[in-house]
C-alpha cells in the first residue's frame, strides 16, 4: 500500500502536503484496500500521526490522532478495564481509528450500545484550504453545533481530513460468554434472532453464520448473571451449546477480522440490511459457489465474502434488485460501491460546502 503514498510525520507537514497536492485521498494503514484505490488523487496516509493524546478513564473519553491503530487504543482501554463496545474491526490487521470512522465499520457489539457513530464525540479536521476545524467536543454529552463527527462516519475521506478524534468509552463488562444454536433454516434463524433481540436478556451481540445456519449469542456481565441468563435462553430454545472461551474468541475474532469465509484473499462486502431483506438475498447467495455470508448485529449488517472479483457484477445486480447498497472493504477490487447508491443535490451541496476547493476525492 505504500506505493504512491505520502506519509506526513506531523500536522505541519500534513498541512504542507495538503497545500501542495492537487487532490488527496486520506488513508490510514490501508487495511481496507478497495477504499484506498484512486486514479486521480494522491494517497496521504495518516499513519504517522498516531498516539493517544488524552485518555481520562474517569470521564469515559479519549482523544487520539487519527492514525492511531485500534490495537493501541484497545490495549490502553483494556488496561483501565474499559472498551469500545462496538467491537472495532480489523484490529489485528492494523486498522487505524481514522480509517474506522471513514469506512464506518462496526463489529457485532454494535448491537447492544451502538456503532462508531454512537461513540464518536469530537473531531479536529483539516479542511481543503488547510483550516483546522473542530466538530463536536471532548465531553460525552454535547448538543452544540452540527454533528460533524457523526457525519464523517462512512464518509470515505471525501469531505475533509480527520487529524484528531475523540470517543466515548464504556466500562468493560466483567465477563462474557457465547451460546450457539443450530437452526433449521434461515427463516427460523431470523425469527430467533428477533426473539433474542427483543427480549430483556440484553444480549451483547447476536450474529448468524448463514452457511452453517448457526446463531451465536454473546452475553456480557457478572459471571453468575450470565450463567443464569444463558441457562434461561437454552431452556427457551430447548438446546444450544455454550462455547469455550477459546471457541468464542475464535468465532468473534473471525468476524471482526473479516476472515470467517476461509476463502483465500476474499473480497468482503458490507451490506446494511434488516432480517427480512437478508432473507430476500439469501437464496441467491447460498446457491452460488464462492460466496459466503455472515449476518451480524442481529440482522443489521450482512458481510458477504466473494472468493474472486468475478462475482462482483453478480452481487451488484443482486443488491440492486433489493435496493441494497454494498461497500467493498477488503480484497483486490477496483470497485468499492456496488448495489443501490444514490446521489442527490443535498449530498453534492454538502460536499461543495465542506470541500469548496475540491481537494478531496469526489463523492
Amino acid at each position: 500500500m505504500s506505493e504512491g503514498e505520502i506519509v506526513p510525520n506531523h500536522l505541519t507537514e500534513l498541512r504542507r502536503v495538503l497545500a501542495d497536492t492537487q487532490r488527496v485521498l486520506p488513508v490510514g494503514n490501508g487495511t481496507k484496500q478497495p477504499l484506498c484505490q484512486t486514479t486521480d488523487s494522491t494517497r496521504v496516509s495518516l499513519r504517522s500521526l498516531r498516539g493517544i493524546i488524552e485518555y481520562e478513564p474517569s470521564e469515559f473519553t479519549f482523544t487520539a490522532w487519527a492514525g492511531t491503530t485500534l490495537l493501541e487504543i484497545v490495549e490502553a482501554l483494556r488496561d483501565k478495564r474499559q472498551y469500545l463496545p462496538f467491537d472495532p474491526m480489523l484490529v489485528e490487521a492494523g486498522a487505524t481509528i481514522g480509517g474506522t470512522i471513514a469506512s464506518g465499520l462496526s463489529g457485532p457489539g454494535r448491537f447492544r450500545y451502538g456503532g462508531v457513530r454512537d461513540f464518536i464525540i469530537g473531531v479536529k479536521l483539516l479542511a481543503g484550504d488547510g483550516d483546522l476545524v473542530q466538530g463536536g467536543g471532548k465531553v460525552v454529552k454535547n448538543a452544540a453545533g452540527f454533528d460533524i463527527p457523526k457525519f464523517l462516519v462512512g464518509s470515505l475521506g471525501r469531505y475533509a481530513l480527520m487529524v484528531e478524534v475523540s470517543f466515548k468509552v464504556f466500562p468493560q463488562p466483567p465477563s462474557m460468554c457465547t451460546l450457539r444454536f443450530d437452526c433449521d433454516n434461515h427463516e427460523q434463524a431470523i425469527q430467533r434472532i428477533a426473539m433474542v433481540a427483543c427480549s430483556g436478556w440484553e444480549a451483547d451481540a447476536i450474529d448468524y453464520r448463514a452457511s452453517e445456519r448457526i446463531i451465536y449469542v454473546r452475553l456480557a456481565g457478572p459471571d453468575g448473571a450470565i450463567d443464569r441468563i444463558s441457562t434461561e435462553i437454552r431452556t427457551k430454545f430447548s438446546g444450544g451449546e455454550l462455547l469455550t472461551s477459546d471457541q468464542a474468541h475464535s468465532f468473534w475474532h473471525s468476524v471482526t477480522e473479516l476472515n470467517w469465509s476461509g476463502f483465500d484473499r476474499p473480497l468482503i462486502v458490507k451490506v446494511p440490511t434488516i432480517g427480512k431483506r437478508f432473507l430476500a438475498i439469501c437464496p441467491a447467495m447460498q446457491d452460488r459457489p464462492g460466496v459466503s455470508s455472515h449476518l451480524s448485529v442481529a440482522g443489521g449488517v450482512c458481510w458477504i465474502a466473494l472468493d474472486s472479483e468475478a462475482h462482483i457484477g453478480w452481487l451488484d445486480g443482486l443488491l440492486k434488485s433489493q435496493l441494497l447498497a454494498g461497500l467493498v472493504v477488503r480484497g483486490q477490487s477496483d470497485r468499492f460501491q456496488i448495489g443501490q447508491w444514490t446521489t442527490n443535490q443535498m449530498q453534492l451541496a454538502v460536499k461543495r460546502a465542506m470541500d469548496p476547493q475540491a481537494k478531496f476525492a469526489g463523492v
Binding site: E56, S58, E59, T61, R81, G104, Y113, G114, G115, D118, A127, V133, Q134, G137, K138, V139, V140, K141, N142, A143, A144, G145, F146, D147, I148, K150, F151, L152, G154, S155, L156, F170, P171, C198, S199, G200, W201, E202, G221, P222, A225, R228, I229, K270, P272, T273, I274, K276, R277, V297, G299, G300, A325, Q337, Q345, M346, Q347, A349, V350, A353
Partner: protein, 479 residues
Amino acid sequence: MTAIDGLESIFPEDRLLRDDAYRAAFESDGLTAFRTKPLAIVIPETADEVIAAVRWCNEHSVPFVARGSGTSLSGGSLPVAGGIVIALNRLNRILSLDPHHRIAVVEPGVVNQHVTNAAAPYGLYYAPDPSSQSVCTIGGNVAFNSGGAHCLKYGMTSNHVIGCKAVLATGEVVSMGGPSVEAVGPDFTALFCGSEGLFGIALEITLRLLPKPEMFHTVLVGYRSLQAAGEAVSAVIDSGLLPGALEIMDALSIEAAEAAVACGYPPGAAAVLIVELEGPRERIEYEREQLERVLAGTDFFAQRIAVDEVDRLSIWKGRKSAFSAVGRLSPDFLVQDGVVPRKRLGEALVRIEQLARDAGIRVANVFHAGDGNLHPLIMFDGKQEGALHRAEELAAKLLRLCIEMGGSITGEHGVGMEKRDFLPEMFDAPSMAMMDRIRRAMDPKLIANPGKMFPGKEAPALGFSGIHPLEKAGVISRE
C-alpha cells in the same frame, strides 16, 4: 398582493391562522423570555402539505419555523417576525412499528411518550426520555438532539434515529439512512439530527427501539455536602458500573421539590444522589450488591431503595419536578444547560456558587452527574427592573465557565435563540465558517428557522412573565 398570497390555495381557512389571537398563542415556546408574533401559522395534516408550505416559503423567500409542541428551552421554535410557523402537531401518525426489526417510522408531530406506549405491547420502548416527553414531539427531539436522564448509557436522540425523510429549505425532498442500524456513506441522518431546524423539516423519522429493561434498581442517597455526593458519583463510575441514570440535586432544588410534590427526600440533605441500574433481573441482582458496596464507602447519611415501581416513580417525581418546583422559590428563573468534564463537577459547582454570590442571585442546581450535564436554575423576579438582565449576565458567566473547563454550552437543550451568541466562543472562526457553509448548502436563502444557533441580528422582544403555562399546570417539566 399580501405577504401570504398563495398559501390559501394550500391550506383551508381553518388551518391558515392569521388573526392576532392565534399569532399571540404561537409567539413563544418553552423559553418564555423571548416572544415574536409570526405572520401566520399553517397547520398541515400531511407531508405533502408540509412540502408545499416549504416550497411556497422558498419561492417567496419567506422564513419559516417548524414547531411541534413548543417545549424548546432554548427558544428553538420561537417564530420569526415576518415568517410563518409550520405547526406539525397533526402529523402525529406512527406510520409503522415493526417489533421484529425493532424500528418505528413516525411523523414529526408524534409525541415522544406515544412511541413508547405503542411499542410497549411488544416489550420495546423508545429510550430518549426528555422530561417533557409526555408532550414534546419526535420532530422537535430530532431538531434539537434532545437528551434526558438516561443519556450516559443510551446516548441522545441522534443515537436512536437511524433514518429520516425530510424536506429541505430548498424544497428538495431527501431520504437519509434507512431501516437498518448500519449504513454506508456519510451519516446525513446524524447531521440532520441537532441541526435545530436550519436545514428543513423532517417528514418521516425512523427510530430504533430497545427492549424494555426487565428490572430497575433505584436508590436515593442523602449527603451532607454536594462534594460528598460528587465523590459518590466518581466512586460509582470508577467501580465499573454503568448506571442508566446518575442524578444530583442540591439543597435548594430539594427544598423546592419537597414543597411541590412532597417527595420525601432525606431531611437536612445538602445533596441527594439518584442512581438507577437497569437490565435483566439476573444482572441487576449482582450489580445492586456492587452498588451497595460502593455507596457504603461514601459519606452518606440516608439511603432509600425503591421497593417497587410506585416507590421508584416517587423518587423520580422529586427529580422530574425540580425545575418547575423552583417556581415556588422564585417568581421567575432561567434554566441553564451546560456540560463540564465529570471530574470537574465539584470545581464547577464551587465556581457557580461563587459567581451566584457575587451577583447576589440564588441558583439551585440539578444535574445529570453521570455525564457532567449541569442545569443551574437562576432565580430572579422579572418585575424588578434589570433583574432579567442580571440573571442573563450570570447565565453567560456560567456558560463561559463550561467552555473554559473544556465542556459545552449545551448538553441537550440546543443552542437555539438563547445561546447563539456563545457558539462562536466554543467554536473558532474556521469551525463556525464550516458550519455556516453546511447550513447554506441546505438552505441557501436562510429561510429555515433563521436567527437560531448562529449569532444574528434578528432580535425578538425580550421579556419575562413567569414559567410556561404548561409547566405551571404540571404538564411539562424541564430536564
